[in-house]
């Protein structure tokens, strides 16, 4: 296996982009990543694109060919292009597929991207499309919504560990604060705990401001083997680990409803592959599709003990100047959550942090970063460890 580096990054603005199409979004992210890498279309050996639900959001499948075509990589260069799907973990999985392709020696320069265009349908259709990340027959058919499933995780976490409603709100407040320093974010504004507590109920105890929004956006990274990376790019960021794990698709069949075992296993595999422990991580982008999800994530990734996610958040441990800064980009909550693009955007943010290019939200001296992407309520988890040093 060859060592792999990220040599280029690109990301669109995240938000409700009425004037931009699916293909516009992908093209902008991909082009920016190639320019950043100092590479050209002719250099690209393969494309992997994470996309959850173009079939439902824009009535379009065959996404691999579509994006290769509109990126100018299909008609004359005939670059192989593969769509990867694992619900909200589609982006993380596309990155992993790209890493595997380069590590294996089969391809040299690979674009791993993610794209989702969610606002071309009305909200009810979006809610239903997102619910397809859960088990349609035995959760969705019974009336489960996606926020409803995470609300049941939150209820039990509060009941069992004493996690408070305010602690959940503090996750959203922190991530909104971080997003004020991210010009790509959907919501570049502060919110207060009261704003969260007074927002409408979606699925009790979760309210509107506990939920990540509906977002359009795309992100891309360029991958290369280390030797080639050094020739093309002055500041390659090394992929020290790429790990993935599965769990039951239904929440009710899990070993423990308040633990995402897929995260636990993906993280353990990633730490082993990178030969590090959780305390070596300087900064992390985690999958905060709901506020409770960030609290579970910091526990399941091993940053705090199970049940301590709420108090750790309240004590500021996860703030930009805390022991383990979490979601400097604003996370899914405030940067936005174009589902298929999220896993790639997380990697883009970590690369910016490790290059020292994150501006006002820079975590000082960050050398090792982690990206954590979840599909559904935890049926899939993908963890990447990125590092300044090989």
């Amino acid at each position: 296996m060859r060592d792999v580096a990220i040599i280029g990054i690109g990301c669109t603005n995240f938000g409700e982009m009425w004037e931009r199409s699916f293909r516009d979004l992908f093209f902008e992210a991909g082009l920016n990543a190639l320019e950043d890498a100092g590479a050209k279309g002719e250099d690209v050996d393969a494309l992997y694109v994470g996309n959850m639900s173009a079939g439902k959001f824009i009535d379009q499948e065959h996404i691999g060919a579509l994006i290769a075509d509109y990126a100018g990589l299909a008609g004359s260069l005939h670059v192989p292009s593969t769509r990867v799907e694992a619900a909200c973990a589609s982006g993380g999985l596309a990155l992993r597929e790209g890493v595997l392709a380069v590590a294996s020696g089969l391809h040299d320069v690979v674009i791993a991207a993610g794209v989702e265009k969610m606002t071309d349908v009305e909200t009810g259709v979006t809610i239903d499309a997102l619910a397809s990340a859960a088990d349609r027959e035995w959760e969705g058919f019974m009336g489960a919504t996606f926020p409803g499933l995470y609300a049941m995780i939150a209820r039990l976490h509060m009941h069992r560990y004493g996690t408070t409603r305010e602690q959940l709100a503090m996750v959203a407040v922190k991530n909104h604060h971080n997003a004020t320093m991210n010009s790509k974010a959907q919501y570049e504004r502060e919110i207060t705990i009261e704003d969260v507590m007074n927002s409408p109920l979606i699925a009790d105890p979760l309210r509107v401001y506990d939920c990540s929004p509906i977002t359009d956006g795309a992100a891309a990274v360029v991958l290369a083997p280390v030797e080639l990376a050094r020739k093309l790019n002055n500041t390659p960021i090394y992929v020290r680990a790429s790990a993935q794990a599965s769990d039951t698709i239904t929440l009710h069949d899990r070993r423990d409803i308040t633990t995402l075992d897929a995260t636990v296993y993906a993280a353990q595999r990633a730490y082993k592959m990178a030969d590090i422990s959780p305390k070596d991580i300087d900064v992390a982008e985690v999958h905060d599709c709901f506020t409770i999800a960030e609290i579970c994530a910091i526990e399941d990734l091993g940053f705090v003990q199970k049940g301590n996610g709420g108090p750790a958040t309240e004590e500021g441990m996860t703030a930009l100047d805390g022991d383990i800064p979490i979601n400097p980009s604003g996370g899914l909550k405030a940067c936005g959550h174009p589902v298929g693009a999220t896993g790639i955007k997380q990697a883009v943010e970590i690369v910016q942090q490790l290059r020292g290019e994150a501006g006002g939200r820079q975590v000082s001296g960050a050398k090792i970063g982690l990206a954590h992407n979840v599909g559904g309520t935890g049926g899939t988890a993908v963890v990447h460890v990125l590092s300044v040093n090989r």
Binding site: G124, W138, F141, M142, G143, G148, D204, H252
Partner: protein, 134 residues
């Protein structure tokens, strides 16, 4: 939902028929064709569940997809059946009434419909188990 997709699971949805692995004694609802513990060494047979159980966790849904919009707010729970398996279903009760640990019993109810002229889906919901209902 297409008619065959509903129809093929009617016995399971109406009567809570799942499966049992005779090798390890594992009980599963919904039915599985392979025991996830024993895999190819498993011996799977049908198993009907009583439907009584206890609420493990719950939520009240205020924002639902189009198919369930008219029912909001409604209580959704993960129920641990007395025999052991857990499943997701609605609780027919007031949102203030729902509690973790609440005992429930199965009730046959309409789950949804495919618009005004489409098929109506039925299945199992749960109701609080009171002394009067025992």
């Amino acid at each position: 939902m297409a008619v065959p997709r509903l129809w093929r699971h009617i016995p399971t949805r109406y009567n809570l028929i799942g499966t049992e692995c005779q090798t390890c004694g594992g009980l599963y609802f919904p039915p599985r064709t392979t025991c996830p513990t024993c895999r190819r060494d498993g011996r799977i047979i049908e198993r009907k569940f009583k439907g009584t159980g206890e609420v493990v966790t719950y939520t009240t849904i205020y924002s639902a997809s189009a198919a369930f919009h008219r029912q909001t707010p409604y209580v959704l729970a993960i129920v641990k059946l007395d025999e052991g398996p857990l499943l997701t279903g609605q609780i027919v009760c007031d949102p203030d009434e729902a509690k973790i640990g609440m005992k429930v019993r199965p009730v046959f109810r309409k789950l949804g419909e495919d618009g005004p002229s489409g098929i109506i889906y039925y299945g199992t919901k749960f109701a609080p188990l009171t002394e009067a209902s025992q």
